[in-house]
Structures are given as structure tokens and as C-alpha cells.
Symmetry: C2
Subunit: 210 residues, 2 copies
């Protein structure tokens, strides 16, 4: 079925938001933890966190500049500090609830029932319930002219991850962490049936590992 | 378990690549289809495709400038055209195999056994086997100074998606497309058990939809 440019343009805006947001397939589900200079904590769910590089270890994410994420962006700019926390299957509803519009003097941690945790001198709070949580230092704050979104680039400082999930080659069994994935605006997935494949070479057939 | 900055720096580079690439959780798995001005087709798997906005419909992706993706980048720059194709569970191995280093005069479509398909006047080839395939027009080509990667921003022109997967509200049942997700460098997942949640409001309990 073809949906051409004109058909997409004529979609109702909410319908189009559902449709376009689903086209990139499975996305990571992460909670971004921050705190303002005056000590007000903030927690917001993001589905646009992406790997940027391993050395130095860099992660990017995209944010709209609107009211739901305004506090997150302001706190990151003020403090240069944030955390990235995998959403675990045990707290999907709490994580999704952070996308509601709360006043800026309200902590989403309190509102949704997750626990802020300050670790190793890092300014921003971690989510205690998260199976994989990263201390991030802001490296670049780039408004994108093309549509007014903001690209945040941060460097990974500390990584907290359940030890059982680390394999001998450094890879992480994300499924065993019970992290979830999101598609579209509101659909959360637990995963099953991973297949690991061998390093691809031009003259070699791939093997299934393990 | 804490892995601090120093521990991460001291990791063996391959170990670190596995480790850091897994930290963003579940990623989309997409094949990028391109063709050079001289007509040589190219196909490359990307796990860094991300949603940038719904109106206009924009998608970003990150690429290393190295030899494996060099042809993809050159073709996009030359023609301004590419396709994004969901990796389906029936061709995971073929998709992963495109990450091997083939010579530039070789078509990965031929090498891995996927079928190029030219649609609706779009310059770049689609992957015929893909359950969801997008015609993309290059909007921005941005080398990122921070680590030498390249950010490609494109506008969605045409969308080809299996009709049964489109719900009444515009959302897409990605699971029914049998698209896969990737974690780390080489681990592919089919999904089960999605939970859709209602629009989050500050004063309302979330409902599970459907």
C-alpha cells in the first residue's frame, strides 16, 4: 500500500503523528533524569536516544522544544548534567506517565512513583528502578533549524548495569535486563527470540552465535 | 555494577564497541538503499535511524564515514535520494551480511540475495522484501565535528507499508509487519507482547488500550 507525499500531507495531524512516528520501527525507551539549579527534579520519557560513537562514548537524542520537555532541556543547559535510564518492563506505566504536562515545580519522580538516586557525585538523579542507567555530561546543545527540534549530544561518564547481563565479549543481554522498546507514540514491547550473528565478511556465511 | 569513565576508557576497543553500542537499548534495524550516478546499487544496514518530526515528516540517521558505509554516503550526496527499509524477520541474515566490506562496484543486493525495486520515479531502489519501505529525499548532510560521524536528515516522500498493519488512528502495528529490532552490534530481536497506553494526563490514570 502506497501512501504518497500528498496523502501524508492531508492526514489529520494526530493521525499523521501516529503514522510517521511508527515508520522508524522499534525505538529505545529511556527516561531522562535532570535537576534544576534550584533543586527541582525532572523526569521525562524519550524515544529518540541514539548511539553516536563508542570512543569517546557519545549518545545523541532529539527533543521537541515544547512544554512537556521544556524543563528537561532547561535543566540540561543549566547544569550540563543528565541521566539516561532504560525503561524496565516493571514500570512501563510510570515511565509513560512522565509524558504528561506537569507544572515546572512538580517532580515527575514523585508524581509517577519512581525513586531519584544520586550517585558518584553526579549532579542529575538516576532512576533507582532502572536496570541500566547512565551518567551523562552535556557536550553539545544544537537546535536544528530544519524543524525547531533540539539535538543533545552527551558523553557517557558512568554506567550502572546489572552485572549478570554483561557477556564475555562486552555485549549486553538487553533482554535479560527486561528493558522495553517503544513503537509509535504509545506502544511498549517486551522482547523475545534474539538471534546473534557472527561478524559479517564478504566471503563468509554468517553463523548464529550461542 | 558501576563501570566508571576510567574503566570504560581502559576497555579493549572491540569489547568497548560491544558494550557502548548496547547502552541505548533497542534500536531500529533498517536497510538503506542507494544507487550511484553510474548505476551501481548499494545496500547497507543501519541501526541509527531516528524519528525527527512528523510535520514535515523527517527522519535522521548517523553514519560513520568509514569504508563500509562510504558508498552509501557518496550515493546519497550524489543523487539526493535513498530508501529506508525495515528489516523483516525473514531476511535478518541477508540484512546483517550487508555490513561486510564489499568493493564499490559490487551490489550488496546481489551479494546477499535481496531484490532492488524501483518505485514511483524514485531514484534509489527499495528492498522488495521489506514490509515497510520509505522513499527519502536528502535535506541535510551534516558532518559532526565531535567525532567525525555524519548526520543525514531526509524527508519522507512515499511510504510503502502492508495495509493490514495500519490501525484506525494511524498507528502501525510494527509487530505484525514482522520488523525486527537490534541491540548492540549483532543481536536481532523479534518482538512480542506490546502494551498500548492511553494519552498521559497529569490528573488521570493510564489505561491499557485494546
Amino acid at each position: 500500500m502506497l501512501y504518497d507525499k500528498q496523502t501524508i500531507e492531508q492526514m489529520d495531524s494526530r493521525y499523521r503523528a501516529h503514522f510517521i512516528n511508527a515508520l522508524t520501527g522499534y525505538k529505545s525507551a529511556n527516561l531522562i533524569g535532570t535537576v534544576s539549579e534550584s533543586g527541582i527534579e525532572n523526569l521525562a520519557i524519550f524515544s529518540s536516544v541514539f548511539h553516536l560513537g563508542a570512543h569517546p562514548p557519545l549518545i545523541g537524542m532529539i527533543s521537541r522544544p515544547d512544554s512537556v520537555t521544556r524543563d528537561t532541556l532547561a535543566n540540561i543547559k543549566q547544569t550540563g548534567s543528565y541521566t539516561i535510564n532504560h525503561v524496565g518492563s516493571s514500570f512501563i506505566k510510570a515511565a509513560h506517565q512522565t509524558s504528561a504536562r506537569y507544572d515546572e515545580d512538580i517532580s515527575e519522580f514523585d508524581m509517577v512513583g519512581l525513586t531519584p538516586d544520586y550517585r558518584n557525585g553526579h549532579i542529575a538523579p538516576h532512576v533507582n528502578e532502572s536496570p541500566c542507567s547512565l551518567s551523562m555530561m552535556l557536550r553539545e546543545y544544537n537546535p536544528l533549524e530544519i524543524n525547531g527540534t533540539v539535538m543533545i549530544i552527551g558523553e557517557i561518564i558512568d554506567v550502572y548495569v546489572e552485572e549478570h547481563a554483561i557477556r564475555h565479549d562486552g555485549s549486553i543481554d538487553v533482554r535479560s535486563l527486561k528493558s522495553v522498546s517503544v513503537t509509535g507514540l504509545d506502544e511498549y514491547h517486551s522482547l523475545s527470540g534474539p538471534i546473534r550473528l557472527s561478524y559479517a565478511k564478504a566471503d563468509k556465511t554468517l553463523d548464529v552465535l550461542e
